[in-house]
């Protein structure tokens, strides 16, 4: 259980994280979604005790980052964003080192390291120096060190960045499997990934939490919203003036053929295509094209993270 309570972190005048609160329960995978520079990594660094916030606190399984930072770190496995590793060490040596620092009893270390090598499919790379490993393997070594002490909570900062599609699928599968019993917080700026992997999504923008819910709930925030694009030959001005108030013209262009291309955002639920068709007829115009598209999770994300511009 990770409890983040009113955390605020400033760097000089910039506010990186602004009064953020949320919890991650055991058996839950929470996707931490936001554009680059939104404050995801800073929040994760605060949770792992790498930096202290100006206000607020974090508790991991009841241990507080202020009162017991070492206790917090014992409960956590952490995969940093760019997977910094000791290049000169071999995979095995590195994992043994982490196991020792993590307080795994000496007689269990090799067994535990072997298990991790197996889980993360590192068998062929065990004796190689980490500096020689490819991005995908480095990421797996990073995961192996985060999992070696079987922590109840995991913090993964962009675990799939820089991986190829097969590796991404593998990592996602691993996260899902681990998430059955552990509390997992993973960050990503890829929406698709968050919606496929997590039970719940937190959307962060400019340091503030702007949305929270499971993928369906977030998508529901968008239902009722649709975008219509149409091409009209005739008096576009008249059509626009006759539009009901729940339509909003977002773009207007003239096509090479001389028709008007309009994009309309509609805030009312239901299919309003017939209404638009009738309207076009009533102003004596001819519809060349009419299509309706419902807002996707993508658009919700864009709207939430851009303060409603999109």
């Amino acid at each position: 259980m990770i409890e983040v309570e009113h955390v605020t972190k400033r760097f000089g005048a910039t506010v990186a994280v602004d009064d953020v609160s949320f919890t991650v329960r055991p058996g839950e995978v929470v996707g931490f979604l936001g554009p680059n520079g939104a404050g995801k990594t800073t929040t994760m660094r605060v949770i792992t005790g790498l930096m202290y916030p100006q206000a607020g606190t974090v508790k991991v399984n009841g241990k507080d980052i202020w009162a017991d930072p070492v206790g917090v770190r014992q409960q956590l496995g952490y995969l940093p964003e760019t997977t910094p590793l000791y290049e000169e060490m071999s995979t095995l040596d590195f994992l043994k080192f982490v196991a020792a620092v993590r307080g795994i009893p000496r007689r269990d270390i090799s067994r535990r390291v072997d298990e991790m090598v197996e889980v993360c499919s590192l068998q062929t790379m065990a004796y190689k120096d980490i500096g020689e490993l490819s991005r995908g393997y480095r990421q797996r070594v990073g995961l192996a060190q985060a999992l070696i002490h079987d922590p109840p909570a995991l913090i993964l900062d962009e675990p799939t960045s820089g991986l190829d599609p097969t590796q991404i699928l593998e990592i996602r599968k691993l996260i899902r499997r681990l998430g059955q019993e552990k509390a997992i917080l993973f960050s990503t700026h890829i929406l698709d990934e968050a919606s496929k992997t997590s039970d719940r999504i937190l959307i962060i923008s400019d340091g503030k939490l702007v949305g929270e819910g499971n993928p369906q709930q977030l998508a529901a925030m968008a239902t009722g919203e649709a975008v219509y694009s149409l091409e009209l030959r005739g008096d576009a001005e008249a059509l626009v003036s006759k539009l009901p108030p729940y339509f909003n013209v977002t773009s207007r262009q003239t096509t090479p053929e001389g028709a008007s291309a309009l994009t309309l955002a509609c805030s009312e639920a239901g299919d309003r295509s017939e209404e638009l068709f009738d309207l076009a007829v009533s102003v004596g115009g001819k519809l060349l094209k009419l299509s309706r598209q419902e807002a996707t999770l993508e658009e919700v994300f864009l709207r939430l993270t851009k303060g409603g511009e999109a």
Binding site: F11, R45, T48, G49, L50, M51, Y52, V70, G71, R73, Q74, L76, Y78, P80, T82, P84, L85, Y86, E87, E88, M89, D93, F97, V98, A100, V101, R102, G103, Q145
Partner: protein, 241 residues
């Protein structure tokens, strides 16, 4: 304690898995031996005094080269993020790293023992002086290394760490010498005893005479503990701002 040992083991491994440690040792031994034997057979006195006289100056460059990577490299490559996410107290990391670097230095110093054997075979040196001088080397190294560790924790650039460490240690070595104290005249003359006390070379020379004075021990202990304490503080402070 076990966690500190794990850090110690890791650092030592990094020193000896890469060519760094070997290059340091070879260069140190070559430089000291050459400077020593250049005059040893001409003077025809079985003493290691000329050897120990150059030790502070060799240490001035040698030890910052050992300590410069301790923190700067971790910060540069970002591995300190991984390191600090492990359940460690700051002092455990600081001491683990420090003792690993100190071990490299002690091994190097120990490898100069054949020089003492040569001197012993060729004549009858004062062993008390030699043992005292080795103790002086150890204390001097421990202090210089602590300063280098602190400087390394302030920067992400190893070269910067090296240069600043050399400057800081050079200042400490020369501050007690006539070169500086001669300029402290008039009202500044009251500073002379302080400058002499601060001077690292004076304390080294005093121990190298074979006299173990508690004032020298306190001096070196202070000079080793204070920078390490500041290192811990600087690492803690870097988490707050």
């Amino acid at each position: 304690m076990r966690r500190m040992l794990a850090i110690y083991g890791k650092e030592l491994k990094l020193y000896f898995d890469s060519p760094i440690a070997y290059i340091f040792i070879v260069v140190f031994l070559a430089a000291t031996s050459w400077l020593f034997f250049r005059t040893f057979f001409l003077v025809k006195v079985s003493t290691m005094r000329s050897f120990f006289a150059i030790i502070p100056w060799i240490c001035l460059f040698f030890i910052p080269a050992v300590s410069m990577r301790l923190w700067a490299e971790e910060r540069k490559t970002g591995t300190n993020e991984l390191l600090m996410s492990l359940p460690l107290q700051e002092w455990e990391v600081v001491l683990g790293k420090y003792f690993a670097a100190l071990t490299v230095y002690i091994i190097t110093i120990a490898l100069t023992a054949p020089l003492a054997v040569v001197v012993g075979v060729l004549g009858a040196p004062d062993w008390g002086v030699i043992v005292g001088s080795y103790l002086g080397c150890l204390l001097l190294g421990a202090a210089v290394l602590a300063i280098g560790t602190f400087v390394s924790s302030l920067t992400t650039n190893q070269i910067v760490a090296f240069i600043i460490s050399v400057l800081a240690v050079a200042a400490l070595i020369i501050v007690g010498q006539p070169l500086v104290t001669l300029f402290l005249q008039g009202p500044l003359a009251v500073l002379v005893p302080y400058a002499e006390w601060l001077g690292m070379a004076n304390h080294f020379a005093s121990i190298a005479r074979g006299v173990i004075d508690s004032r020298d021990l306190v001096y070196y202990l202070l000079l080793a503990v204070l920078p390490l304490y500041l290192t811990v503080k600087s690492i803690q402070a870097s988490k707050v701002d």
